[in-house]
Amino acid sequence: MDLLTFFMLAVPLVLFAAVVILHPSPVYSAMSLVVVMSFLALYFFFLDAHMLGWFQIIVYAGSIMVLFLFVIMLLNLQNDPQEHQQPSLRTASRIGGAVLIAELVFLFSRSSSSEKAAAELPEGFGTVVALSEKLFTDFLIPFEITSILLLIAAVGAVVLAKR
């Protein structure tokens, strides 16, 4: 990924991420998050993770966020009222955020001075075949645990949400 592409993707990512947490309307927040996730999918394509890019669109943008939107509409949430929160906490968390960002930038840029070049990519990096081969050999255990996890999610969601 060259620098131009990086910034063309990074700037909208940050902007829309900011909209997610700042917009008073939950629907707009959700839609900005969809945009963030779609841009991330593009980002993944440029980082040679083609399969993941598509999964990002199908799973995150296409399913999880639709679920969010569904619940927002089901509860018919309107714009948040003026946030009547202690101003001290707001200021504190803003300052905290700024400090954290600055710190991260500083630390990472310092450690990048001695950075190694990116490794050579093996044949078929990020393709379906490579991904599935790893999935069913080295990652067999996590794969099986995921099945239990999804079973729990299905059972749990039904138990909690049924009338």
């Binding site: 839609m31 598509w54 669109i57 296409g62 399913s63 939107l69 569904f70 509409m73 089901l74 379906v128």
Partner: protein, 364 residues
Amino acid sequence: MIDIAISAILTVFILANIMNLGGLLLWVERKGSAILQDRIGANRAALLGKLPINIGIINTLVADPIKLFTKEDFVPPNADKFLHWMAPILAMVPALIAFIAIPFGDILVIGEREINLQAANLNVGILYILGMVSLGVYGVVLAGWASNSRWALLGGIRASAQMISYEIALGLALIGVVMTFGTLDLQEIARAQGHMIGGVLPGWGIFYQPVAFFIFLTAGIAESKRIPFDLPEAEAELISGYFTEYSGAKQATFMLVDFLESIIVAGLITTLFFGGWQVPFLMRDGLHLPGDIFYPLPSLLVTLVQHGAFVTKLAFFCWLQIMIRWTLPRFRYDQLINLGWKILLPIALANVLVTGLMILIFQA
């Protein structure tokens, strides 16, 4: 450079044809339903007012869009203007660009150059189309929310629940197909269906995955929100659901999206289950009939015949969906959700399991 140009030409070709087909389907729906129900159907719009012959096709094709596009574009008060305007576009774009992954022919040879008749040669075509289908929900849901009308909101809620539910069955049906052919590339899947089973039966997907076909057809119709699954727009209950508050060109867009979605479903069924552009016995170099009879044919002719076969199959499945629409009554909402979760999902899961077992048995 030339490759990009060719892709661009193919894309324009497809999009133009699909839009036309969408319009054509509108006429088929109006006139075809009339034939089906033993009535005359659309006959008011006559060319130049009073031409003796009523050329229904031209009239409807021209008159309906003109009518829709010249109507007032009304945005309800207190609606969210931005999203109200965005929703039709968000619905339209994924539906339109989903087509570019569907192959409509084998390789066209012009001079030295071999052109793959598929606008975008994606090696994960199935994932691409699934992605686009899942993004298509947003247009509908936002239309329902942005209109500031409870009918529209109910339609939007119904649409999101319905589309999420049926996407699962749809995806699982596709997994059976992918397991059979071992690839996510739609062109490869179409090519893999070129052989003959026992010399007589075409090796189409439906003979390998009959269960997946029925699940896919059902879930596909549900995804395109057409009768009997048109709960999101059920006019008897919700006026017209998520686009109740739309008029003019925006409403026309939503209607077009409906047709586009059924064309995608038809195209996918053709490609995955009915050999795509394959014609039985027709290979790239000519006709191979059983008993080692061989008629060589020019490559261009073969390609044209194959493309014709694709269009014919596509048209058939479009027509089938319209037939279904005018034959079956609408489901109730709980029936719809039960069908999706309690019937289609277990069957689709069982199908994946059985497919896996069969693969293991036949490879051993």
